[in-house]
């Protein structure tokens, strides 16, 4: 070893070396005094142990005092000096050694908590292979410019955010979305930095590199969340501000009354609110870090503490419990050919952005393309264009929110909508139509009527498949004692059929977007702590109203992350029971930590006042309680 490497080693492990040296000195000083009669030598070694172990503590204490903060290091320094002054060398050395050992272990464990997120960042490779000036060049991943094409080999990590321009592969997106199953990526699909290309080579056009990637943004948000104080934390902080000076006053008072220096020094040491102030932040940082690694972004301790009290989860139906891919399942013409019903409805709905409208227009394009190209390969090449042209624009069109659309085309008035819209417009609904609608709705489908110039000419039934995970998720929440509710704009019969299929406790149907908000307010008024799960965009108002808003599929959409208290990076419903249970576990963990801290201080205080607890044993128990709350909090990292 060279001199330089010894110095480096010392600097890196200074705390461990200092603690170990102080411990060894303490041990030998104590044995010397206990086993032999070399009391002077024993005392000298114990003082040396105090000085070695206490130098750094005293230095920080000096800074605490000059910066006018009052911390445990000041108290420990005072206690050690005091003990030496009154000749209790053994106590002085013990306090210093136990405190160094405690804070060394605390620093080490906290480092683990603090680096839990760094592991995610290390997923991003440092270099990228870029197509530049006609050749492939290896450059630093941070220097890749927007628009440049990056080549990623099979098995390689993706260095930038971007869109696939060539190749096809399965990509493991776990670092960003928490999903363990690889996702298939092909032309024009989005990929994220830090994810792993598992199968084929991909060429990616960069949309973000360096610190401007989804992963980096998520990590920044997670850190902000970890740093935001929860209500419990700020309460404790406010308490600690008065507590420490109060302990000092108590120690001085005790000395004035009893003239017992050891007693008041012990009070100083055990009175530090260590475990109390450290416990809650460790629990919350660990929980938020764990959630982030599973693809759940928690907005902060406050949100987490509220989520721990959830007793009712409301789900938006479309796109949350269902896949959100509505397709036409049946078209019925009443005196008119089904194809005509479809094309008329498609024209009326063409300008609407509603998901039911999309399903109708898509179906019309498919059918017409099939009919017009007649299998000819020429038309195939640009079938989307043919399709687009085949649905004519309406002359005008109006949306009636939650009910349907009213449009004009070719001099005809076309209304496409639900029963409520028909009733508003006094359209007569024949039994035959009503029977058809009832039958389809009983299967969980949504039906719209197509009305031409006041007469019903047909109906279109649409279906949105349930997510496979939905029944299991609802059951898991019910097992955890949480009520489940489905909110939907669908009619009662459709909603009832879907609700039964998912096994949900309750459903509320025929809700306009603003109704969802008042339904949530209603549950809150009944004393429920309500979580609302939705897509974060259409449901933004109800997510904001709920005690805890949970947005799904949030990777890449900043709006969803803004409005929600929790965001699921992937469209993975199964994260919801996990997130709710983690929040509950965190709430308990915080309470446990506060309990441990208060209990320790109470027991120690009683012990000191009845002279059972000395300076050294008080310090031992105090440091042990701090370690205990840190380790307890860190359990949440592995939850």
């Amino acid at each position: 070893m060279t001199k330089q490497s010894i110095t480096q080693y010392y600097q890196k492990h200074r705390k461990a070396i200092v603690t170990a040296t102080s411990g060894l000195l303490y041990g030998s000083g104590w044995s010397l005094g206990y086993l032999t009669s070399f009391e002077m030598a024993s005392a000298a070694i114990l003082v040396l142990a105090t000085v070695v172990g206490g130098y750094d503590i005293a230095k920080t204490a000096y800074h605490e005092v000059t910066n006018r903060t009052l911390g445990i290091k000041t108290l420990v320094t005072l206690a050690a000096i005091g003990a030496i002054v009154i000749g209790e060398y053994w106590e002085a050395a013990a306090v210093v050694f136990l405190f160094s050992l405690g804070s060394y272990l605390e620093g080490r464990t906290m480092r683990k908590t603090r680096t839990a997120l760094q592991e995610l960042l290390e997923m991003t490779p440092d270099t990228a292979t870029v197509r530049r000036d006609g050749t492939l060049q290896e450059v630093s991943a941070r220097d890749v410019e927007e628009g440049e094409v990056v080549v990623v080999k099979p098995g390689g990590k993706i260095p930038v955010d971007g869109t696939v321009v060539d190749g096809e592969s399965a990509v493991n997106q776990a670092p960003v979305t928490g999903e363990s199953a690889p996702v298939h990526k092909a032309d024009s699909d989005e990929v994220y930095a830090g994810t792993v290309n598992q199968e084929g080579a991909l060429e990616i056009r960069t949309t973000g590199a360096g610190s401007d990637t989804t992963l980096e943004r998520i990590i920044r948000r997670v850190e902000e969340a970890q740093e935001a104080q929860s209500p419990t934390e700020s309460l404790i902080d406010r308490f600690a501000k008065y507590y420490t000076p109060a302990v000092i006053a108590l120690a001085i008072g005790a000395y004035a009354v009893t003239q017992n220096a050891i007693l008041s020094l012990t009070l100083l040491v055990i009175g530090c609110p260590g475990a109390l102030v450290i416990g809650p932040p460790v629990s919350i940082v660990s929980a938020i870090g764990n959630a982030a690694r599973s693809g759940v972004l928690m907005k902060g301790g406050e949100h987490l503490e509220r989520a721990g009290k959830i007793d009712l989860v409301a789900f938006d139906k479309t796109g949350t419990l269902t896949k959100g891919e509505t397709t036409v399942s049946d078209i019925e013409g009443f005196g008119v050919a089904a194809a005509d019903v479809l094309s008329l409805a498609a024209t009326a709905e063409k300008k609407s952005e509603h998901h039911l409208a999309d399903a109708i227009v898509d179906m019309a394009r498919e059918r017409q393309t099939a009919a017009t190209d007649g299998g000819a390969t020429v038309a195939q090449a640009d079938d989307t264009d043919v399709g687009r042209r085949s649905v004519p624009d309406p002359d005008d069109f109006d949306v009636v929110a939650g009910k349907g659309v009213i449009a004009h085309a070719d001099g005809q008035e076309v209304v496409v909508g639900n029963r409520a819209l028909l009733d508003d417009r006094d359209v007569d609904v024949p039994d035959r139509v009503a029977d058809y609608v009832r039958e389809r709705e009983g299967r969980g489908e949504t039906v719209v009527h197509v009305v031409r110039d006041g007469d019903i000419i047909g109906a279109i039934a649409m279906r949105d498949e349930l997510r496979e995970a939905a029944p299991g998720v609802v059951a898991a929440l019910q097992d955890a004692g949480i009520e489940t509710v489905m909110l939907t704009g669908d009619n009662d019969r459709t909603a009832a059929a879907v609700a039964e299929e998912v096994g949900i406790d309750e459903y509320r149907a025929e809700l306009l977007p603003e109704d969802k908000q008042s339904v949530i307010e209603g549950y809150q008024a009944d004393g429920h702590v309500v979580a609302m799960v939705g897509d974060g965009i259409n449901d933004a108002p109800s997510l904001a109203t709920a005690d805890v808003g949970i947005a799904m599929g949030a990777a890449g959409t900043d709006t969803a992350i803004e409005t929600a208290d929790m965001a699921l990076m992937a469209d993975d419903l199964e994260r919801i029971p996990y997130a709710v249970k983690l929040s509950k576990a965190t709430r308990w963990n915080v309470l446990e930590n506060v309990g441990i801290a208060v209990l320790t201080v109470t027991v120690l205080l009683a012990g000191v006042l009845t002279s059972y607890v000395t300076l050294a044993s008080g310090m031992l128990v105090h440091e042990a309680s701090v370690l205990l709350v840190i380790l307890n909090g860190m359990r949440l990292l592995r939850y």
Binding site: H63, E64, N67, S103, Y104, G107, E227
Partner: protein, 71 residues
């Protein structure tokens, strides 16, 4: 001109230690705003770059007994 720099200190062993470092840094010449987060070990310093010497920040943190790392 005002500039922002960050450090990461992984070895804070108590919340008071973090606030002591925060106070010490805010006393460095040219520092306008400091936030030290105990939970994540992140140190954010906003400073006037015509007055403050960024090298002094790391030195100040070291003087308090902690190890700053570039963030």
């Amino acid at each position: 001109m005002s500039d922002i720099t960050q450090f990461r200190v992984l070895d804070f062993d108590c919340p008071t230690c973090a606030s002591t470092v925060e106070r010490a840094l805010s006393n460095v010449d040219g520092v306008q705003h400091v936030k030290v987060h105990y939970a994540t070990g992140r140190v954010e310093i906003e400073y006037d770059d015509s007055v403050a010497d960024p090298d002094a920040f790391a030195q100040t943190i070291e003087n308090q007994g902690y190890t700053p790392q570039p963030a």
